[in-house]
């Protein structure tokens, strides 16, 4: 009896491992296809512009809300901490490093994973379930070139200015909090920011934008393309896309910081 149970468990584990590897292989081919169809961007420039509006301009409010709130909160908390050491004048420096290197891009990534990733997953999932993706293939149109590549290109282009916006608004909110909450002169705050920021700080922050763009777009689109099982299946694939891409964004955030900071 225990032997049968162990055998079944081993069989099930092997089967799940096989399925996982198969999905990884499919994801790899899907990603390669998305990049190799980039030369068709000229043909799909309207789709690119539509997607650039969706992930760029339309995402500005959520990026502003998240970066302003986290910038303000950071200034209050870090200011309180520095006050204990009599180092409140360093608030600008510490806030700037946190926002530009880590929190600006990370929050932007997580917000866009929820906003842009969920939209991709749901839209492409619904197209898959209603056989629209099969229809594209049946009539001779490459669905990856038509649906995924413009999304990827738009995210690659738009995530960089969105990161800059998140950094800028987060720092401005922190400066305002420093002035009104901690009574730090804006000159002192900004003086601790600008002269001390080095190229490495910006490289860490802005390198994350394209990495997150690739993760969010490809993971959410792949899950949309893999949707099955009716409307419930679309829901499942969308959730899976958001959870996986958010997790990967957090992991990538750590490794990009680690690799760049150790090598620059």
């Amino acid at each position: 009896m225990p032997l049968t149970y162990i055998r079944n468990l081993v069989d099930r584990t092997i089967l799940q491992l096989k399925e996982f590897l198969l999905i990884m292989q499919e994801f790899f081919y899907f990603s390669v296809r998305a990049f190799t169809t980039m030369p068709k961007l000229k043909k799909y420039w309207r789709d690119f512009l539509d997607q650039a509006t969706i992930c760029g301009a339309d995402s500005i409010p959520i990026v502003l809300v998240s970066s302003i709130s986290i910038g303000s909160l950071l200034a209050i908390e870090v200011g309180n901490l520095l006050e204990d050491f009599g180092a409140k004048t360093m608030l600008g420096r510490s806030t700037a490093l946190s926002v530009i290197r880590e929190l600006g891009p990370l929050l932007m990534g997580l917000m866009l994973s929820a906003r842009y990733g969920s939209r991709n997953g749901a839209e492409l999932g619904a197209m898959k379930i209603s056989e629209q993706i099969d229809a594209l293939r049946a009539f001779g149109t490459d669905p990856v070139a038509k649906l995924v590549m413009p999304r990827l290109a738009a995210a690659l282009v738009m995530f960089i200015p969105l990161t800059a916006l998140a950094d800028f608004s987060g720092l401005q909110a922190a400066a305002l909090m420093a002035q009104h909450y901690h009574k730090i002169d804006p000159g002192i705050f900004w003086n601790a920011v600008y002269p001390r920021l080095v190229a490495k700080d910006f490289v860490v922050g802005f390198l994350k934008a394209p990495v997150f763009a690739i993760i969010i777009t490809l993971v959410s689109s792949f899950n949309g393309f893999s949707a099955r099982g009716g409307t419930a299946g679309v829901g499942k694939s969308t959730i899976k896309g958001i959870v996986v891409s958010s997790g990967l964004v957090l992991i990538a955030n750590f490794y990009v910081s680690k690799i760049v900071l150790e090598n620059m």
């Binding site: 056989e131 629209q132 293939r137 490459d142």
Partner: protein, 244 residues
Amino acid sequence: MIELRNVTLKYGEKIILDKVSIEVKDNTIKAILGPSGVGKSTILKLMLGLIKPNSGQVFVDGVDITNFKEPDLYPIRRKMGIVFQGNALFDSLTIGQNFSFFLRENLRLPEDEIERRVCEQIKFAGLEGYEDQLPESLSGGMRKRVAIGRALIFNPKMILFDEPTAGLDPVSSRKILNLITDLRNHNGLGAVFVTHIIDDVFAIADRVAVLYKGKFIFDDVTEKLHESDHPFIRSILSDKILEI
């Protein structure tokens, strides 16, 4: 001409199609009859190269397309049109845009030629005045006609129908069946349609293949179906509609 030769298809460990062979000649209407979930729609997808068999071969006009890569399949697929069961119309595009979409995508035609072809198909589908409406505002029968018009946009030799009358009222069903017959009679267009409604088969099909438990148990002219003594065929002839 489309041919499946000894095709086996599995989903995981489950065998969907077990060494099936079928041939569809140009200018004939062939029905694939069988209960729901038996793999009828899968056969259409195999014919288009949308899915690949685990073993066996798929031929289109004598060319083995089984191992063709996706870009190489596009010109082959344009020889055929397909009408999906749920129509698969692009729900964010208008009827006119649904017709013109693939022309703009795949052919470098001047704008006036695209418009001419779109007008032709809209007229064919009897949808004049609906060009700017979204598919959701049309009835089931009208949507089916849009899907058929779209399938004809590349002037194919063969058209594949997945349950063409499913979900339609009797009048709309009759219109769609007449349309399929007219396409064969007036345009010389062959058709393959999968269905679980035996009356549709007797109404328009020249030949019928019956799929049961992953195998074809009958493949001949429609009239000979009555002569079959296979228990499953006998039962469907008495029940008329296969609901398994």
